[in-house]
């Protein structure tokens, strides 16, 4: 059986991994191919800070909260293993700040040591009167994606650098099941009115004295449109930009100025930080993640597609939960088509 994954960001690679893990001994041969025009370090997943945290509230998308928690637990399980560094996983604590009191966030039971901020802690952040402290995980794309690719390569998965123009193209070449992890550019393959870019610009700075992430929340400006500072293993990511509908991947100097000023106000010690570079990425924003299977037809051929895209600003946060769900959908397809005895799934 030939499976083609389109997209080599964290969703594409982790879905390929989950499918391999669960089916390589059931389907022989199982050929998995990954097609993408961009590979690490040029994907959206690479530019992101790599901080595990869903949006404050899931707006009823409890399934997404479940997948995020599954991802957290999965990553946490690697911490005591020698591989954690190679995977780019480590713990980091920090502050979520609000200008007024707010209900507890969706992820309070997923993270470690979740609690409200004390008065003294709030004194560190003038202008903010409420917030939470917890320990969460970092999973840095620039390390995690190469680790995933090595993992897949070792198991015979092949990679092809080219832009897929249509599902038909792959079906015509003999692919049986397509996994669509095309992120913000899913619209190129299949029109989706709910998918839109959420442009983000970040500054990478050298500020090695910072050991906590600081995320501010403005209920008027919206998620990630308020300043945030996320230290990583090599540099600190400074951001606060979420522009719906903006397709520009160019760095914008006005955004740079605005982000930098807000961040320095939040964290005065940044004044002496050296700015290394800017980066712009397009979050694949959707009202909710599209994680479904679809039976399609092209001419006489019927084929199956599993969609796994639209993870907005929480792709790394939710990737494993979604990959496992995609693998479950894969199993459903196998059952439906009698490609594998029902009892073995």
């Amino acid at each position: 059986m030939r499976v083609a994954v389109i997209g080599a960001g964290v969703s594409g690679l982790s879905t390929a991994q989950s499918i391999f893990e669960q089916y390589h001994s059931l389907i022989i041969p199982l050929t998995i191919e990954v097609y993408a025009d961009r590979f690490t370090p040029l994907t959206t997943s690479d530019g992101a800070a790599g901080f595990w945290q869903p949006y404050l509230y899931d707006k009823g998308n409890v399934q997404e909260t479940k997948w995020c928690k599954e991802t957290f637990d999965y990553l946490l399980s690697f911490l005591r293993s020698p591989d954690s560094i190679k995977m780019g996983i480590f713990l980091q604590s920090g502050y979520n700040l609000c200008s007024e009191s707010a209900p507890d966030p969706s992820f309070k039971d997923s993270v470690l040591g979740f609690r409200t901020l004390t008065e003294r802690e709030l004194e560190l952040f003038p202008g903010y009167s409420y917030g939470w402290f917890n320990t969460a995980l970092m999973v840095e794309g620039k390390t995690y994606l190469p680790w995933l690719m090595d993992w897949l390569r070792e198991r015979g998965v092949k990679f092809y650098q080219r832009k897929i123009e249509s599902f038909k193209e792959l079906v015509d070449s003999g692919v049986d099941i397509i996994i669509n992890c095309t992120g913000v550019r899913s619209g190129d393959l299949q029109f989706d009115p709910e998918l839109t870019p959420g442009r983000g610009q970040i500054l990478k700075v050298q500020a090695p004295w910072l050991k906590h992430w600081i995320i501010t929340h403005s209920f008027t400006a919206g998620t990630y449109n308020a300043p945030y500072i996320i230290p990583g293993s090599q540099s600190v990511v400074v951001g606060g930009c979420f522009q719906i509908g903006n397709w520009s991947e160019q760095n914008n100097s006005e955004d740079h100025q605005r982000i930098w000023e807000a961040a320095c106000k939040l964290e005065p010690s940044l004044k002496h930080a050296q700015i290394v570079e800017d980066w712009t990425g397009l979050r694949p924003v959707r009202s909710k993640v599209r994680l479904v299977r679809e039976s399609m037809q092209s001419g006489q051929s019927k084929f199956e597609v599993i969609h796994n895209y639209g993870h907005g600003g929480f792709g790394l946060t939710i990737h494993r939960g979604c990959a496992q769900e995609a693998a479950r959908l894969f199993g459903e397809i196998l059952e439906l088509k009698d490609w594998v005895p029902k009892s073995s799934l």
Partner: protein, 366 residues
Amino acid sequence: MLAAAVQACSVVIHWLCALLTRQNPLEMKRVKVVVVGAGVVGSSTAVCIAETLTNCSVTLMGDRFTPDTTSDIAAGILICAPFPDIPLERQQKWFKDTIDHLLTIAQSEEASDAGVLLSSGWQLHKSVPVDKKPFWSEFVLGFRTMTDQELKRFPNHKFGQAFTTVKCECSNYLPWLEKRFRKAGGQVVKQKVNNLQELSTQGYDVIVNCSGLGAKTLVEDSQVYPVRGQVLKVHAPWLQHFIRDGEGQSYIYPGMHSVTIGGTRQADDWRLEPDPGDSQNILERCSRLEPSLRRARVLGVSVGLRPSRKNVRLERELLLLGGRQVDVVHNYGHGGWGVTLSWGTALEALSLVRQCLYQRPPSSRL
């Protein structure tokens, strides 16, 4: 109104004294203060005095300056154990004063210059301690017991405390303090002091003794003894939290440019050379706490001798040295808690110096 009246009286008294002693009032000597020892305690004390007592001329004197002091070796994490015979309230004030002072710096533009950063982490215990809350627990940020889920990462420990404290790196902090000291008019002199008489001969009116381990010979204090500490600096930029084993035997303190891991506590051990056996042992113990350390590259090894004493000595004495009455304020014996108590003990030493000045004859009070 009252302040102005006091000021006016002071001026009148000053001139009357000048008249009586036949000195030119404008040339009457300022009080000469010398702070002996340029580690974190001496430097902090010198800054406090120079910035506050503007009628004094302050000299910071030592045979060793940063980066060659004991303080430079210290990781600089604010945590400590209590001294047995000093009232807890007093020790609490020392801790609180220090952490409040450093927290202000951490949240300012000076943070990176001064080498001050916030640090969160965990203190682990193999069994539930009798005293679940150390005496400083209300002065650090967010102090709480660790949850069961958090403890899962440490299978050899049954209890833990999580909190946010400050790390103060002396290789940055001491030069930063020195700048502040000079700005306040302080003089820095590199000189080894063999005994207090020397200083009296040089004309100092007040000696502030922050000589750390040196007090053993400088003032013949047999209670002072070294507790040798060896530490390794490793490259592990993915570590963002401190981890400390209850008694402080093993610890991991991520800093600005490296992670300090340790340690040893060898009483009466004067060896300054690194011991390879200790390095091996430290790496082993710390890797058990944090397995990712096995992949960390070792950048260097250092040794510091903690200037230990059963209780820190922070008090005044009036000595007759070389025929002169000299006020001495002692501020030494902080053991492994020098950075932690530096500003608080400096402030108390300052108030002791002030007391000395008020009790001096009027001619030198101004």
